[in-house]
Symmetry: C2
Subunit: 101 residues, 2 copies
């Protein structure tokens, strides 16, 4: 039973495409830097739903210990340093997933 | 390039474990009923984060057309009929994923 961390972001008014591109760049480096990440998907909302958030991150890890390793990893903390100043709203949850990874 | 739909729910005060179990039951039937669902994970928040939502659903489908088929499927609409009366808050996004499914 693996663990899936989900975070949705709504950007502050005035956030630029260049700032979102920088978020994507820092997140793209995390799978290589953090071996606990079994899968890592993120990206901007596609604009096909109503009242959607602007950006989503889904991190698949083995268990609570691996999640804590991801959460506290200095490269992840550095990514949060890029993300937090842009945030108007954040929604998150951690759920159990059936598979092995 | 596949599509990932993410929805987070915060339950209204007074929502019971039996009501959440009913949500899980109706969602558990969807992968068999809706062939467009390549993967479907859902469940209650594990309680390891701060200010988390209560429940998450992640649906992986091939593309926008498959997402619309899932969204509009009568069994999914019936599940929403169980979920909506319990909702205090909902957050969602649809993102592109790199893989094939």
């Amino acid at each position: 039973m693996a663990l899936r961390h989900i975070a949705l972001f709504r950007w502050s008014e005035g956030t630029t495409p260049a700032q979102v591109a920088e978020v994507e760049e820092v997140l793209a480096r995390l799978p290589e830097a953090i071996p606990e990440l079994d899968a890592y998907t993120f990206g901007s909302d596609l604009g096909i739903g109503s009242d959607t958030f602007d950006f989503a991150v889904v991190a698949d890890v083995a268990d609570e210990q691996a999640y804590a390793a991801y959460r506290d990893h200095p490269d992840h903390q550095a990514a949060l340093g890029v993300i937090r100043p842009l945030l108007a709203e954040r929604a998150s949850a951690q759920i159990r997933t059936g598979g092995a990874g």
